[in-house]
């Protein structure tokens, strides 16, 4: 009789434990759990194809990441550069030709670290070059930037740095460095905010007066 009582007691306890451990629908849980659970069988339906339709894009693969970036050469007004730069820069120096690019002032690192040819290939103006003198296509200019700005490069590859071209669904199309930063002066300048809330300022003033 006693054992029977104990077994039935244990049994009810077990049932209660099982019932309590079962998660109820809609029960509070961390968002990370939800992402993991619901993302398991992910198959997205939406695409950004339509939004990207008007933009010339090229596909790049860097490490584990493959994505699109805007094509660049077609956007440069005076490309190809050798139409003017028919000779290497060293030979064109001192010639009494019309001055071009007179408005470009290099404000990037300092003169000891960088000059024009740190990025531009003086012998083949149609290309950029790495520090070690390897040619880099203008479309892949991020490779030049990535030599020094390695942490920004990591973030950009993952998607933590920079902007998207359009839309959030795949395929991923990210702006490349030069779409936001002018490589000759890459810093963002200080400026006035684009909006000021006069109503809020008034309210605050009234609050202070009371």
């Amino acid at each position: 009789m006693k054992t029977k009582n104990i077994t039935s007691y244990l049994l009810t306890l077990l049932i209660i434990v099982v019932l309590c451990s079962c998660k109820q629908e809609g029960e509070y849980h961390p968002i990370t759990d939800r992402i993991e659970a619901e993302g398991k069988n992910y198959h997205g339906n939406l695409t950004s194809d339509e939004l990207l339709a008007g933009t010339e894009l090229i596909k790049i693969t860097e490490g584990d990441h493959t994505f699109l970036i805007p094509e660049r050469k077609g956007q440069i007004k005076l490309f190809a550069c050798i139409e003017c730069h028919s000779k290497p820069v060293s030979q064109m120096n001192g010639l009494n030709e019309k001055k071009a690019h007179w408005d470009i002032k290099l404000n990037h690192a300092n003169g000891e670290t960088m000059n024009c040819t740190t990025c531009h290939n003086g012998n083949n103006m149609n290309n950029l070059n790495t520090i070690t003198g390897k040619n880099v296509d203008f479309n892949l200019s991020f490779k030049v930037c990535a030599q020094c700005h390695s942490s920004q490069f990591e973030d950009w590859k993952g998607g933590a740095h920079g902007k998207k071209v359009a839309g959030w669904p795949p395929p991923r199309a990210s702006m490349t460095c030069v779409n936001c930063h002018d490589p000759h002066k890459p810093n963002f300048e200080t400026r006035w905010p684009s909006i000021y809330n006069t109503e809020k300022a008034k309210e605050r003033k009234e609050d202070l007066e009371h």
């Binding site: 509070y28 961390p30 968002i31 939800r34 992402i35 619901e38 993302g39 069988n41 992910y42 198959h43 997205g44 339906n45 939406l46 695409t47 950004s48 339509e50 939004l51 942490s151 920004q152 973030d155 993952g158 998607g159 933590a160 740095h161 920079g162 902007k163 998207k164 359009a166 839309g167 959030w168 669904p169 795949p170 991923r172 990210s174 702006m175 936001c180 963002f188 200080t190 400026r191 006035w192 905010p193 684009s194 909006i195 000021y196 809330n197 006069t198 109503e199 809020k200 300022a201 605050r204």
Partner: protein
Amino acid sequence: MSENKKWYSLDLGLSKNKKTSSSCGCGKTSGGCNNHGTKNTQPTEMSSEDFFEAAIDASIGDERHRDGFEQVFDVKMDRRTAFKKLTASLLIGAGAVSTSCSSFAGDDTKEKAQIDWEEQFKGNYKLMTNEEKQGTINRLMRSYELRTGKNISMTAENAEEDVLFGYAFNISKCQGYMDCVSACVEENNQDRNSQMQYIRIHEMKDGEGFKFDNADDNYYHEVPAEGHFYMGTQCFHCDNPPCVEVCPVQATWKEDDGLVVIDYDWCVGCRYCMAACPYDGRRFNWSKPQVPENEVNKNQHYLGNRMRKKGVMEKCTFCVQRSRKGKNPACVDACPTGARIFGNLLDPNSTIRWVLENKKVFRLKEDLGTEPKFWYFMD
């Protein structure tokens, strides 16, 4: 379709298929007049005593235990029946009015009255079928056209499968330019009179941490200001939203893609949600929102940027009219510094997932258990 509806919608004789109503003039759903009794199923073989009992049950039911006052006032009536009675009587009045006025009123006026009437008695958007959603946005579009002579395009896209929206904000990148705020105001048709803004950019002193009391969210000087950093707040679209919990009329809820939305036509303006939100994410229309006609964004969503009215809540919807079409919210597109990252949390290859997995992210007031889908991070 109409059989499964969870609310009563007004039939002004537009749909001809009138179902034979189970209600009768007596005003009760379960007995009370003799018309109901005969409908109840009775077994064919029944003793006369049983039959007598059943007949009494069917005809007066509970009421044989009650009398007088209780019988009259303690009537079992759900909301639907109550509305039925109410609208039925109103309908008669309105019918009379419309027929008597028909010789004076133009077709437009009549149509407008019809639209207003149907809008007045439509159900909660959350419970609508797709056809009903389409119906209401068609009415709203037509109503706008009748009132202003201009066309708007309004949609009612539902949440897409396998989508859960998330947002990340890079504190190191934000420079306080406020381009996001102005883009948001333009996109979402916010009231220009009260200068309502969903987004706040807080200017905080370096080295003092997050002190919202000391922060300035309405600065006007060149930015970024020396010795300050900037961070933005807006609706965080919590996964466990306290604002939804407190709404007494269920006018706000969480959609399947994680957006916390408001049915502006169901909101009663009690502002409980505003008090419940720990993040100052909700705004109230103290007056009728005013947007100059030429500045109205005409690409609208029922749950998003359509024109609001006086006395209702509104807030950031992650630009539902854009995000459900695959676009980024206006603030994300407008930000010149790339501080704002938006995407699908369920897509393992999305950039937002990379940020969550590879950057040191945190959320505001995490200990409240609200589970915001809005993360902050630094370079």
